[in-house]
Amino acid sequence: MPIVKLVSEYFGNEQARNLDWYQKHGGYAAARKALFEMTPKQVTEEVIKSNLRGLGGAGFPTGKKWSFVPETDDLPKYLAVNADEAEPGTFKDRYILEWDPHRLIEGIIICSWAVGIHQAYIYIRGEYVRPYRILKAAVDEAYQKGILGERVLGKDFKLDLHIHRGAGAYICGEETGLLESLEGKKGWPRLKPPFPAVVGLFKCPTVINNVETLAHLRCIIERGGEWFADLGVDRNGGTRLFALSGHVKRPGVYELPMGTPFRELIYEHGGGIVGDRRLKAVIPGGISAPVLRADQVDIPMTFDDLNKAGSMLGSAGVVVMDETVCMVEAMHTVAEFFAHESCGQCTPCRHGTGWVYRIVSRILEGHGSEDDLGTLMHAANYMTGTSICALSEGASMAYRGFLTQFPEEFKYHVRHGKCDVKEKRQAVA
């Protein structure tokens, strides 16, 4: 399938950050159309029709999420934009923030109009210093030109937008951890229900949407929900940004229709494997997504197809590993991450992530035993469905992915105290 440039239309074009240029090229026309020609309900219906799904990783239908917010006006409603992109292997939102900040602001206006929101916050990870500077300049300019503020684009509709910088915690990308952090607390996720759509930021109804999800709204309003839906397949509408990294010749962000197979992303757009070595494994959607073997790369990239294959499309951060990679070492890196980033609130996650990390470290160092493999699986299983948020679940899925997809490598490590792959690699060298 060809590359389709919707949200990535302006990547690499420095002028697009400039408000005048953006407007001259059709920018904010979709927001105008929504505000002046459509009722909030019509906007939501168009988004439902588009089959747009939450592109932060969970894949929840966006229009449906909006429709959970009560229609009453007794409490203020908030929009929290999730720009806390921190799932390892994911860097697509950074491209939108750096190259096309006005497309995000336009999406924020469209969403706010549809839901009846007058205050929005963008929660951006603290490490994104340059994206923050660019986004801040765009927001300031939008205020100066009357695109944000008391009368959005001249309409009797008020919308304030403020950027809130995070401070280095993966858990704040979890939507209720994000809300806690926005409220000035440590990012401990909340028990659900109540869901944020009813009790969210400052105890008020709140929509939480990912950067890319909101960036797609311009095209959906311009060209219609059906048009967008038809670009994708089934209930996975439109296109999506795939962040490709690891052992490929051309790593980067590629916008492709939903349903494109991994093989095409890796070999056509990514140029194939570095040094023309053999493909070994692919992580399909950020490191929480269970790893796929090379013989699974013909799976179409949709939320539903990946679920069927026992993995997930998640944040669409695609990490490619060639034949020289030791899977125990890969799992060790992944386990170190989760042990570092568990927020410490729930026991299965706090202890499980540390436990798994220490056992995998031992195996990698050549001191593992056969029993360790059973213990790892046992720990992983106990980390599912036993904690408040999805971090534990994601870690558990990732661990089980490595252990079940590449069991022979783990067995070799514990039996021989060394790495089969590394030996072969050294023999070749």
């Binding site: 939102d93 603290g126 403020h162 409220e183 440590k186 990294s245 690891g246 790593p251």
Partner: protein, 166 residues
């Protein structure tokens, strides 16, 4: 030794007041207030915590809890330039370990350390910095540098030192 009490410069005080207007609840300004204080002081000392607790009208323990939860707040003085080397999976696949080892050798202090002349501090972090397409990569004073080699790292360090001399 008694440390000098901390307070915002008049300019930062104005900025802090501006931040307060962005939220319906005062406490929501805590993270931005801490960012501002760290920018001014270089790190969050106990005196800074004390001051922030007062102006935020919070118990000091609430401030300490937040400072210690988030990894971007420093609780001790760091170098004039701070480096974070990404050790996440995509960078691991592109041999970030050689970059980490080179920095260790070059700076002469282990990760988390500050060089004796105070010019650099550095960390090797397991969390992803979100720039896997330029792996291996690192962040120096907020800017991202990618496709690193030991030689390229040396150049970056040299440029930072040069900027200090000017």
């Amino acid at each position: 030794m008694t440390a000098a009490p901390f307070e915002f410069t008049p300019e930062n005080q104005r900025e802090f007041e501006e931040i307060l207007t962005k939220y319906p609840e005062r406490r929501a300004a805590l993270l931005p207030a801490l960012h501002l204080a760290q920018l001014q002081n270089g790190y969050i000392s106990p005196e800074v915590e004390d001051y922030i607790a007062r102006i935020m009208e919070l118990p000091i323990v609430d401030v300490r809890e937040v400072v210690s939860f988030y990894s971007l707040y420093f609780r001790r003085p760091m170098g004039r330039h701070h480096i974070r080397v990404c050790m996440s999976l995509s960078c691991m696949l592109r041999d970030c370990k050689s970059i980490r080892d080179h920095l260790h050798k070059r700076l002469g202090v282990p990760p988390g350390g500050v060089t004796s002349d105070g010019s650099f501090s550095w960390e090797a972090i397991p969390d992803c910095l979100g720039a896997c397409e330029i792996a291996p990569m690192m962040q120096l004073d907020g800017e991202y540098y990618g496709n690193l080699t030991p030689e390229k790292v040396d150049e970056i360090l040299e440029k930072a030192k040069e900027a200090d001399r000017q």
